[in-house]
């Protein structure tokens, strides 16, 4: 610290400058997922503080990583107790991976490909009837398309998928008196870049011409695209309140404007230069018009997230209740969210017209948004959500050994958006018109009705702590959570919970606490499956809506056996059983986490610590391959299959700090190791010959993540203020995940993916070394 302005103020701060060199093998994007590690000279941070001694003003400047992608600047200032201002800018990169995009225009809302390529691809298209009896059998046309695609991928530059958040803000707070305050804050965040998004499609194929519908196979098609991200979010928050020791009350208003500059994404289908209506063919048993060759379209369009605006007004208050040593706090909030982006046309595929759009009476231009308005009565959603939140907390200590806490929360999400029924839709941009939203009414051309989802969630809880003896506190708790829903296949759920715990502190050096909670969630009005209201299978219940029995145990032990040793142990167990007697869905989940942490300080110059965390979880689900051998009965026990997923994680952390020369030379090292493994146990006890092909359990290899990190820092204090040092970082990350495929899977997939091109932006493993030296100055 140093006095400035003739002693009126004190200047303090610190600065760290480093010079470093990195060596990265593998994915630089994963290594720098949220950071920017540059070679050369880096100003790590700069902090300058001016604190008034005899004047009531202050100024605080904080700078981190200037001129890098993860730069941060903040300036605060003001008069103590009177007013304060803040300006800040924060940049956060999010780097994903490098991939190959065969379409041009990454980062824009229009991805294109040369027409010649589309023509060459189309010239080698093999339609359904011509594929013969085995659609997966090699053929010259598929081989030609594969050769074109492979060549294209080999000669296309790679694309880095990444985006960056840049957030700037200004806030000011003003105290009218010691108790009356007001504030205003404005932030603006720009989020720009790209990330992968996949658009898929498929062709149906009758494996057995004239055979049952269930025998149809699918040939998949699609392209992984670069989704442009051009978001801008502006938030204004203003408020004022009275803050006294005995009570406080305030009101605040928040306006959020979210703007997406690229709210659509057009993309060329690499495999088609002309759009043609889908077609059926002789021998097909599924006779809906145009059910098969539906992928013959040239261009698709995605609707990305729409722009929106929201308003929130919140009233808060709190009052002390000295007679019972208590306090009551409440918050009431009202919110509105609006979204009214104009609807896109049903499709850009002009081939969806005429005879294959039976729901349309007369000619209609399917590529015109006016057709959406004419056929649904709406040109936008009129998206309108109103929220009401009420939260109340009451806590008191009516007598010394007793503490009572009661909470109640009400959250109402009322979606007033228009409910719209469309006559149908062109999914996946395909040359085909669907007249039902995959529900059992589809055959009646019921159209596709949208359903604005609304719900009300309420929580109430009561916790009573009682100091039974001075070292022992026991806790009893109970709670209720209720959900009421609209336009969903479930009406409501109620969950009642009860539990208890203790905290035992026999001596100052030992604290041991435990807690157990039991809860049972019951379900009201879950629509049975295979109905218009619930098109899912009979017996399938979503785990977040299902009947649930929950057991939860937490324990914590902290010991200081001797002055130089600290030991902490935590243990958590959670078991959920879902769905009662319903056979399908997630049936149970179980998780266990244990951790131990030891710190040892044998002397003033040495500190060691070590920690170990082990986590285990298991999720058990059951499903059944859908059959239609008997009308109205789709799920037979012979087709039941189970999948148990085991997630295991072990994390080790160790470190040592040694004052090699006390006050001068310090060695600081740490090592972290993380190993996670996901294993799958997919089973079907029935003979494969007795089950549908889709019901045969398949072995999935485990997924492994391994991470190691070594940090070494040797610092030398040249003076009390000046420190120099060297630092070294080693990171190694290895991901083995069988789902991360090459960019092109032609002929290797179960569904003949000859026409499905990915980017291959999924390689994340890396090994990195960073060595550097630094100078740190504190003043």
């Amino acid at each position: 610290d140093m006095d400035i302005m003739g002693g009126k103020a004190t200047l303090s701060g610190e600065s760290n400058v480093a010079v470093q060199q990195k060596y990265v093998n593998g994915s630089e994007q994963k290594f720098e997922e949220y950071r920017d590690v540059q070679n050369g000279v880096v100003l790590q941070d700069l902090r300058l503080r001016i604190d008034g001694n005899t004047i009531p003003y202050y100024l605080d400047l904080k700078v981190m990583h200037p001129a890098l992608s993860d730069e941060f600047y903040r300036l605060q200032g003001g008069q103590y107790g009177k007013f304060g201002i803040e300006l800040f800018y924060d940049s956060i990169p999010h780097n994903y991976a490098t991939g190959t995009l065969i379409l041009s225009g990454a980062g824009t809302d229009n991805l294109t490909i040369a027409n010649q390529i589309q023509q060459d691809m189309q010239a080698n298209e093999l339609l359904t009837p011509a594929r013969g009896t085995n659609p997966l059998a090699p053929n010259p046309q598929d081989a030609a398309q594969q050769a074109i695609t492979t060549d294209l991928l080999a000669n296309t530059n790679t694309t880095v998928f990444a985006f960056k958040r840049e957030k700037a803000g200004f806030s000011v707070g003003y105290n009218f008196t010691d108790d009356i305050k007001s504030w205003a804050r404005v932030t603006n965040e720009k989020k720009t870049g790209t990330r992968v998004i996949t658009i898929g499609d498929y062709e149906r194929y009758p494996q057995i011409p004239g055979g049952p519908h269930i025998s149809d196979l699918f040939l998949v098609a699609g392209t992984e695209l670069a989704e442009p991200i051009q978001y801008r979010t502006t938030v204004l928050n203003v408020g004022t309140g009275i803050y006294k020791k005995e009570w406080l009350a305030d009101i605040q208003y928040t306006f959020t404007n979210f703007d997406n500059e690229d709210s659509t994404l057009r993309w060329d289908n690499p495999y088609r230069s002309t759009s043609i209506s889908s077609s059926n063919f002789a021998g097909a048993t599924n006779t809906s018009n145009g059910d098969f060759n539906r992928g013959r379209f040239t261009m698709g369009q995605l609707d990305l997230v729409p722009s929106s605006q929201s308003h929130d007004i919140t009233l808060s208050g709190s009052v002390e209740l000295p007679a019972i040593h208590g306090r009551f706090t409440g918050t009431v909030s009202y919110g509105m969210v609006f979204q009214n982006d104009s609807f896109l046309p049903y499709t850009l595929n002009a081939a969806v017209s005429g005879t294959n759009v039976p729901a349309f009476a007369g000619p209609a231009n399917i590529t015109d948004p006016a057709t959406v308005l004419a056929t649904s009565g709406h040109s936008s959603l009129n998206g309108d959500v109103r929220t009401i939140t009420q939260s109340y907390v009451f806590t008191c200590k009516p007598v010394e050994p007793l503490t009572v806490t009661a909470k109640y929360r009400y959250y109402d999400y009322d979606n007033l958006s228009d409910a719209i029924t469309f006559p149908g839709y062109a999914a996946f941009s395909e040359s085909f018109w669907r007249t039902g939203n995959n529900d059992p009414r589809a055959t009646a051309n019921a159209g596709a009705p949208s359903s604005p989802l609304s719900y009300t969630r309420q929580n109430a809880g009561l916790v009573v702590d009682y100091h039974l003896f001075k070292p022992l506190t026991v806790t009893v708790e109970g709670g209720w959570e209720g959900w009421d829903r609209e336009n969903l296949r479930i009406n409501s759920t109620d969950e009642l919970g009860i539990g208890g715990g203790f905290l035992y502190k026999p001596i100052k050096a030992v604290i041991f606490s435990g807690r157990y909670r039991y809860a049972h969630r019951t379900v009201n009005g879950y629509e049975p499956g295979n109905t218009a209201e619930n098109p899912e299978a009979v017996g399938q219940v979503n785990f977040d809506w299902a009947d649930r029995i929950r057991h939860r145990v937490d324990a914590r032990l902290a010991i200081l056996p001797v002055q130089s040793v600290t030991i902490g142990v935590t243990w958590q167990y959670l078991k959920d059983d879902y769905g009662g007697n319903n056979p399908f869905g997630l049936k149970s989940s179980e998780s266990l986490a244990g951790a131990i942490d030891v710190a040892y300080r044998p002397s003033d110059i040495v500190t060691l610590y070590a920690s170990y965390v082990q986590e285990y979880s298991k999720g058990a689900m059951q499903s059944a391959a859908k059959d239609n051998a008997v009308a109205g009965q789709n799920y037979f026990p012979r087709n039941f299959w189970n999948s148990d997923i085991y997630d295991k994680a072990e994390t080790v952390g160790t470190g040592v700090t040694v004052q090699v020369i006390p006050g001068k030379l310090t060695l600081n090292t740490s090592y972290n190791l993380s190993f996670t493994k996901t294993e799958f146990s997919n089973t079907n006890p029935n003979l494969a010959s007795d089950t549908l092909q889709n019901a045969i359990a398949q072995a999935w290899p485990p997924i492994r993540n391994r991470y190691q990190e070594v940090r070494v820092d040797i610092g030398y204090n040249l003076t009390k203020k000046l420190k120099v040092g060297v630092a070294y970082l080693y990171e190694w990350y290895k991901l083995d995940d069988f789902v991360n495929t090459p960019a092109y899977m032609a002929g290797l997939s179960a569904e003949n993916s000859t026409k499905f091109v990915f980017t291959g932006a999924n390689q994340y493993s890396y090994e990195a070394n960073v060595a550097g030296a630094y100078v740190s100055y504190t003043f």
Partner: protein
């Protein structure tokens, strides 16, 4: 009299004033001069001083005995917190301390705050996240997993700390569960993921009800911070069409790459008239 806050401690003796303390502790007093507590008078606590937290010091001054002065770090948690709250109950961020999970675990203010320290918000550790993780080791473990928020520390040029625990939680107590400092889980997520807030034509119910149905907020062994792997995550709820009910081999387009999202990318909802099955 320097009474502010000191009533919480049952100590004998009388107040001597902070100037007396400076006589024997000049370095401490100098360092404390830039501490926010040294400016308490500007905030309406005009009589605040050393004895506001350390209690009447006359006995300590007379005998020089360290046992004759209160050290909040070695004092009963309730007394310490009560002392702090004598002033800080005016702060909205602290009004829910009583009855909060940290209070019920008998954690006092000075377990996390070092009042004489120089760190931001007087935290006991320069890095807020490290302070929290010293007890919440399982959350620390999540930081080394496959997907996570940018929360590793920011202490060196090679670290990435952009979020802190208090970006989402209020450790002093909150209306929402898990000490979430917002009206709901989703409202907290929308603060950074504003694009997920708006109502859409085709909704996916868990998205609007609770993000944590599918996402693990601290970190995950799975991609995109998912609670489990796609397609199994989707299959746990969906058995409508045939392809959703297949046991699936690893060479199926329903499994590899983005799994179900290969064809249904708009899993958070779609506003496209033809996006009824979250595919456009």
């Amino acid at each position: 009299l320097l009474l502010v806050g000191a009533m919480a401690f049952a100590t004998d003796g009388s107040y001597v004033g902070s100037e007396k303390c400076k006589e024997c502790h000049p370095d401490l007093a100098k360092a404390f001069s830039t501490n926010i507590h040294a400016k308490a008078g500007e905030y309406g606590f005009k009589d605040a001083g050393c004895e506001s937290c350390h209690g009447p010091a006359s006995g300590h001054v007379e005998a020089g005995d360290t046992a004759a002065i209160i050290n909040p770090a070695k004092t009963d948690y309730e007394a310490v917190s009560a002392s702090c709250l004598k002033c800080h109950s005016k702060d909205k961020k602290q009004v829910l301390w009583h009855g909060s999970i940290h209070e019920s675990q008998q954690i006092s203010c000075v377990a996390c705050h070092k009042i004489h320290g120089g760190n931001d918000r007087l935290l006991a550790n320069k890095l807020e996240n490290e302070l929290c993780w010293s007890c919440h080791l399982d959350v620390r473990a999540d930081m080394f997993k496959r997907s996570k928020h940018p929360m590793r520390d920011s202490s060196t040029p090679t670290t990435e700390g952009k979020m802190t625990c208090s970006s989402c939680h209020n450790p002093h107590g909150a209306m929402s569960e898990k000490l979430i400092d917002a009206r709901s889980f989703n409202d907290k997520c929308y603060e950074c993921h504003a694009e997920k807030r708006a109502p859409l034509l085709w909704e996916h119910s868990p998205v609007k009800e609770e993000c944590t149905t599918c996402h693990s907020a601290h970190g995950s062994s799975h991609n995109k911070m998912l609670v489990t792997m796609v397609p199994r995550l989707c299959q746990q709820c969906h058995m409508q069409g045939r392809h959703q009910t297949a046991a699936l081999a690893t060479n199926s387009v329903l499994v590899f790459n983005r799994g179900c999202l290969n064809c249904h990318p708009m899993v958070h909802g779609s506003n496209h008239p033809s996006g009824a099955i979250l595919q456009r």
